[in-house]
Every structure is written in C-alpha cells, then in structure tokens.
Amino acid sequence: MTEPHLPDGGAAIATADPDQQVPGRSEPPGPSRNLLRFVGKKVAITAGLLLGVTILTFLLVQAVPGDPTTTNLSETAQKDPSVVAAYRAKWGLDKSLPVQYFTYLNHLLHGDLGTSQSTGNPVASDLGKYVPATLELAIPAMILALAISVGLGLWAAVRKDKPADHAIRGVALVGLSTPSFWLAIVVLYIFFYKLGWAPNGGRLSARYTPPEHVTGMYTVDALLQGRPIAFQDALWHLMLPVLVLTALTVSVLIRFVRSAMLEVLDQDYIKAAYAKGLSRRTVLRRHVLRAGLVQVVTVAGLAFASLLSGTVLIEQIYSWPGLGQYAYRSALNLDLPAIMGVGLFVALVYTLVNLIIDILYGVIDPRIRLS
C-alpha cells in the first residue's frame, strides 16, 4: 500500500530540501496566483466547516428529548394546546426537520442568523452584544498572557535547571492543574470578599450608564466617548476575570514557550550567533525570540481558542454577560438558533485564528510560503 498517493507524501521532502533554489533562478511561481488559491481554499474550507457546524448542532438539538416551548412558555400556558400550537407555528417548529433546516440555511445565506427563542432578539444582535463582552476579557488576557509567558518562558529556558527555571515551571504546572472555576472563586473570595479591592462581577457599576455601543467593549467605548470615570470603572471590573484568565493561559503557554525556546537555544545558529561575538542580549532578543515565536504563535492560536472556552466558566462566576453565558443559557434552554449562532461564530473565529496564524508564520518565518 506504500505511497498510494505519492505526490502528497512527497511534499514534505520537497520543503525539507530547499537546496535547489538559487536566488533569481527558481523563485516559486508568482505569489498572486498562490495567494488566490490559498484564499479560495480557505474560504471553501471555512464554508464547509460552517455547514458542518450547522448540521452538527441541528442534529444534536433535534436528538434532544426536550422541546423549546417548555422553557419559553409558563407551565400553565403549556397546558393550553392552542397556546403551544401558536408558539410552535411562530417559531416554525411545526415544520418537518429538513424544512426547518433548509429554512434556517436559506436565512443564513441572507445573513440572518434567526431569532433566539430565549431572548427574543435576533441572534446576530445578541452576538453583537455578547461577543464584545467576551472579547473584552479575552483580548487583554491573551495579550498579557503572551507577554508574560514569553518573558518567563524565555527566562526559564535560559536558566534551564536553575532555581528560576524550577520555580517558573513549578508555578506553571500548578496553574495548569488548577480548576479555572475554583481559582476564580478563590480570587473572588480574597479580592472581593476579604479585601474588598475588586468588584464582585458584572461589567460596570450600576451607577454608570454603559457607553454607547461602538465596539461593544466598555473600556474602549468609554474612552472613545471621553468618559474617563466610566472607563476606570469598566477597567476595574475587568481586573479579576482578566487576572484569572491570564493566569490560566500563562500556565498553558509557559511550558510551550519554554520548550520552544529550549529547542531554539539548542540550535546551531544560536551557537553561531554567540560565536560571532554578539552579546547575550542581542542573541536572545534578535535570534532566540524570533525563532521561538513561530512555535509560540502556533500554541498561542490554540490557547486563544481555549481561552474563549475558558471564559464560559469564568463568565459564570463573574456575572459577565458574554458569549459563554449566552452559550450556556442557550444550551440549557435548547435554544437552537442561539446555539447555532454561537457555534457558527466560534467556528468562524477558529478559522480566522488559523488564518492569522498562517499569515503570521509567513511573516515570521520566510521559509513558510503561502501554500
């Protein structure tokens, strides 16, 4: 059976052996064609993925013994068949499954994600509200986590087997072993309940009106609208959840960063850089970091995805009206359009993040072309 599709298997050889290329003689075919094909392929894959997500969620929710009418009508109302029938008719639940599905797809193609049965709003507008809330947690947490873990990971790698390394690895391991929701509770207990330094949840103190929806992120919007006090307050509310998310992400990332950096430190080109007489600082900053970033980017992308899901629990504890809470509630209420909306959105983010990673690879590592 060996090599039933040899050309594919051989691609690895071709990239692993770029010896044959000489500048000016054999540049790969023009980037524009490649880029087009690359983008086309990505779009096709994404579309397939999204379709898969809709089918998956649809089937999943249909397999469920529950019925959305139950959670969206009072118990008394459910005993009245005419009320139930009216409800089912309103939401199209009386149609056959394929019809329901294709109706949904048809709407989807027109950019309509449907209406959430549990909030009564268009799913798209719900997402518009909840997604920025989650991003407001996830983005700073990701940035902080990256900065911290790259710093500490590099430090640990450089000081391999020294006390600093042991300490960093130990803390990361403990972090990795800590249940996020538990950590969130402990932190809340300490900083809110005991010390009173932090608010207890929510995005903004009640006495402030949320800034008008521009980006949906309160801190950004407050700044844009010139409301420094609201900005401060929003920032203050961000503190604990971001702290917890950062801690978790850092502990996930550090070990990868460290091993990536160790791998790099072990490379001949680092020895060669030292052999040239460069200072340690230059070597670490210019040579080690740069090379280590390729792998950091890989895991960072994945860590971002996991961070998004980590927020489900954190949002629960910090009363953060984000995507995670929305997903949780929709799941419990079997709110099909909402679950699908969340699924689609997350799948989109997933492909987007992958795309960004691919692009970053290209930026960081010239060996990797768009292919």
Binding site: P65, S74, K79, N121, R207, S319
Partner: protein, 508 residues
C-alpha cells in the same frame, strides 16, 4: 446618551440598583412571565387594579377607581379614573383597556391560558365590563397581574400592535416594547439588555405619585454575587434572589422582607401502569412519613417553612403552622414494609436548576436520604429544565419534583389544577376514579365558594384530605425575599407576582 451620571455617581440618591439574576425575554405584558419581567412590567404598565404593598388580601384601585362584581360571579364592571395618562400624555380610556385585554388573550402568550375565558367590552369611555365564561370570583385579582397591564392602543397600533383573533400571527409590537414603553406606569424603559442590564427611568408624565428614584438599574447578578454585594452594605440597592440559606450571615442593618409564596412538591404518578411503586398508596404514605420536613425547611435557611398542606402561608387558606407535617420513621418503616414494593427503586425526576437560592439537587438528595432511612429506594434523575418540563408534560413521569408558584395570588387557583381533571392531576395520572370521592367533593366546594371566608374554610378542609389521599407530597414553603440596603424604605416583598413594587421604594 448622557454622561452626567459619571459625576454624580456616589450620591446614590437618584439611582436604585436592583440585583437579580434574570433572563428577560420580553417586556411586553402580553408575553412576560418570568419574575424579573414581572417586576419591570409592573413598574411600566399600570393595571386596572393592584395590591397595596404586601397586602394581597384584596385588589385595590389603580387605573380603575372602583369595580363591582355581578352576583353571578361572572361579570365585573370597572370604572376608570379620568386623570390617568399614558406616558405620551394621552388619556387612558376604556378602549385602551379593551384593546390591551383582547390583545393579551389573542396573542397566545404565556398568560393567555389564564385569561382565555375572559372578554372585555367598553360601555363608555370610562367603563369596562369584563366577563368570564365560567364562574370565577378571582377576575379582579387576575387583572391586577402585570400581564394585564394596559397599553395605549394608539401607540401600540402605531408600532404593529394587534388585538384581533389572529394577533398571535399579526402582532409585531413585541420587540418594540423592549425599547419603549406604551404604558402609564411610574417608569419607562430606558435601555434593555436582555441578559445583563435593564434600566428604567421615571415617567415624568406619571399621573400618580412620582417615584422616589429617577432611575432603576436591574443588574443581572447571580445569587452569590448578590450576597457579596449586599454584604458590603451598599446604598440604594436591593437584591431579589437572596433566599434560603444565602440570607444567613447578612449584616443586620440590611432590611429583609418576604413571605412564603412558593411550595415544593413531589408528584407521584397514580397509574400502576406507569409505576407500581408510586401508585402504591402505602409507599406514598411511607414516603410522606419518612420525610424530615423540618430538615428540608432548614435547607432554605430562615425562609423555609415545613409544609402543612399545599397552600403556602402567604395566601389565605393556608393551614396553620401547628399542623406542619412531621417525620415518623417508625410509621414510615411499617408502611414501607406493608407496601410490598419497598425493594423497588424509583427515579425522581427534577429540573437541574437552582431556584429560590437552593439547588434543587440538594433538596432531592435530602428526600432521597430521608427515604432511605425508611427503606425506600429513590434514584435521582436531574434533567435540563426544558427536558424536565417536556417529560412531565408527557404524563408518563412516575415521580417528579419541582417548586411551584401560583398563577395569581389566590390560593383557590391551585385547586382546579390539582384536582382530578385538572392539568397537573392529569399528568400525574390522578383521574376521578383513582381519587377519593371525598377529596373531589372538597375541591368542588372550594371552587364554588363565593364568599371569601367560606372559601378559606373549604380550602383548609381540602388540604387536610389531600395529605393522605393525593399523589402529591408538599415538602416546604419558601419565601421570596427582598433584601434592601439600610437607607431604603418601602422595599417590601409581595406575593402578588411582581415581587416588589419598585415605585414604592424611596430613601429614608
């Protein structure tokens, strides 16, 4: 919109914060049904009649300055006051009332089932007659509930409101009501975020006494956070979901107000074809004797009350506390043995939620462990709420458990539902032929009583009979509680359905 509150933040006088955990699906009176929605809708829309504070014994005038009941108990005449205006300044007329009540009925929302027998007509601009197709002395109470809020017909129609028979299809008003208010209540909606934050502002055209707070912010907050927040003794803040054990350990300066208006009930299917265990009277009685009602009540902290009958203590007709059920393990054991099915285990279905501050799993686990002491075997079967309701509606669930609230604050409303032929009895397989005739007779007596006193006595008799002859075991009553910061007054809990009248709250 405005950035003024950034500066006047900590004064706390202008804004009332309401901490509650919510999912508000709609602020349309025709569709509202969840507690926070009711609180808000009650503040946005006036009703014909209402209740005063925590007193739910008798509806008092609101938009109607008076009402009279016809002797047949089927027809009620409401005379509107003439100074009431909607928040656009236009007068509240009988036509608005008729429009609102028709819409409520035809919209086929959650409340439609309650009002399906009612019809309204205007005799003149200030008089409305509401007629019930069946005998129903409780019509005024029903019309006090938030879902019976009165909309401005003109404004409603402008934004797609319909009251015709096919309103359930044609009405387009619903989502508009999340952003604007077409009522005559003390507040109007300022901003609506179904899951995180809802803000009300005072209606400056309000015809009655102006509310003390200009702004009310409903913050979505889970119970634990509410407790934490209140522990910090904030200003101008109330919490609505602290109940049960989460009330303990709160600072003494906080004010608590509550009344036991919900009941937690086990339902045991009476049909042997569904379960030979739960349909076994001895087994049911054994379970009834095995339960530690005091211990169950203690799970709810100070707010729990061991059940005596079915009707919670907040309502007229409740049995006195002295009659509270007690545990009798010896009796339970002997009944269990006698039943002959004690070796069989049965699944207890319940929704996997936290209600009234207590995780239902905890209560179910307590029931399970109490039963085990008498040798009765119960397996717990939590289900997502949707699937729970769906299964129970199917009428094939042997054994289930859930908290219950009254549709409107009259105890008799539960009777029709629980007696053979009622919806719940039906789902529990309790048909007339399986029921004890005396119990059925007692129920009918409650339903036909016209006089309040007579009704109370009948209710109590009925409950005493139900204890040993019905497929229901009521465990405890629990109280909703309003916890308010020390600087507030008027934050009283009402069992009337809207929890607390926001407009009544003011600073000391």
């Amino acid at each position: 919109a405005c950035s003024s509150e950034d500066s006047g933040g900590n004064g706390g006088s202008s804004t009332l914060t309401v901490d509650t955990s919510f999912v508000v699906k709609s602020l349309d009176p025709g569709a509202v049904y969840e507690p926070t929605g009711n609180v808000i809708v009650h503040a946005l829309y006036d009703t014909l009649v209402t209740f005063d504070g925590s007193d739910i014994s008798k509806p008092v005038p609101d938009l109607a300055k008076s009402y009279t009941a016809a002797p047949d108990g089927k027809s009620f005449t409401f005379v509107l006051r003439d100074d009431a205006v909607f928040n656009d300044g236009s007068k509240v007329t009988a036509a608005d009332v008729v429009f609102s009540l028709n819409r409520l009925k035809n919209l086929k929302g959650s409340a439609a089932a309650i009002v399906k027998d009612l019809s309204a007509s205007a005799t003149d601009e200030h008089t409305v007659v509401v007629t019930s197709a069946v005998l129903n002395p409780n019509v005024p109470t029903i019309l006090a509930e938030p879902y019976a809020g009165i909309l401005s017909a003109k404004l409603a129609k402008q934004h797609g409101g319909e009251d015709g028979p096919d309103a359930s299809k044609t009405d387009k008003l619903g989502s508009y009501l999340n952003t604007a208010t077409v009522g005559s209540g003390p507040y109007r909606i300022e901003s609506f975020d179904a899951a995180s934050r809802i803000v009300l502002t005072a209606n400056d055209k309000y015809w009655g006494n102006k509310p003390a707070f200009k702004r009310v912010v409903f913050q979505n907050m889970d119970v634990q956070n509410q407790k934490l927040t209140m522990s910090k003794q904030p200003k101008s803040e109330i919490a609505l979901d602290l109940a049960g054990d989460s009330l303990s350990g709160l600072p003494g300066a906080l004010q608590q107000s509550g009344s036991a208006d919900s009941y937690y009930q086990l339902r045991l299917h009476a049909d042997p074809a569904v379960s030979e265990v739960t349909s076994n009277r001895d087994w049911v009685n054994a379970l009834q004797a095995a339960l530690d009602y005091k211990g169950l009540a203690a799970l709810f902290g100070s707010s729990g009350v061991p059940a005596a009958g079915i009707v919670p203590t907040a309502y007229a007709g409740a049995l006195p506390e002295s009659e509270a059920q007690t545990q009798d393990l010896a009796k339970a054991k002997s009944l269990a043995e006698q039943s002959g099915v004690a070796s069989k285990s049965v699944k207890l279905l319940y929704p996997a939620i936290t209600f009234g501050g207590v995780d239902l799993g905890t209560i179910a686990a307590k029931v399970q462990s109490d039963a085990a002491k008498a040798g009765l075997k119960i397996e717990l079967d939590p289900a997502p709420i949707a699937s729970f309701l769906d299964q129970r509606r199917g009428g094939k669930v042997a054994f289930s458990f859930s908290p219950q609230l009254l549709d409107y604050p009259v105890a008799a409303s539960v009777v029709a539902d629980l007696m053979p032929g009622g919806g719940t009895a039906q789902a529990a397989g309790w048909t007339a032929d399986r029921a004890d005739p005396a119990t059925v007779a007692a129920a009918n007596k409650v339903l036909t009583a016209l006089d309040a006193k007579e009704q109370v006595a009948a209710l109590q008799d009925w409950q005493r009979l139900m204890i040993n002859h019905s497929p229901y075991i009521t465990l405890v009553y629990n109280s909703g509680t309003v916890v308010a910061s020390a600087d507030l007054k008027g934050a009283v809990y009402t069992a009337a359905g809207w929890v607390v009248d926001i407009a009544d709250i003011s600073s000391r």
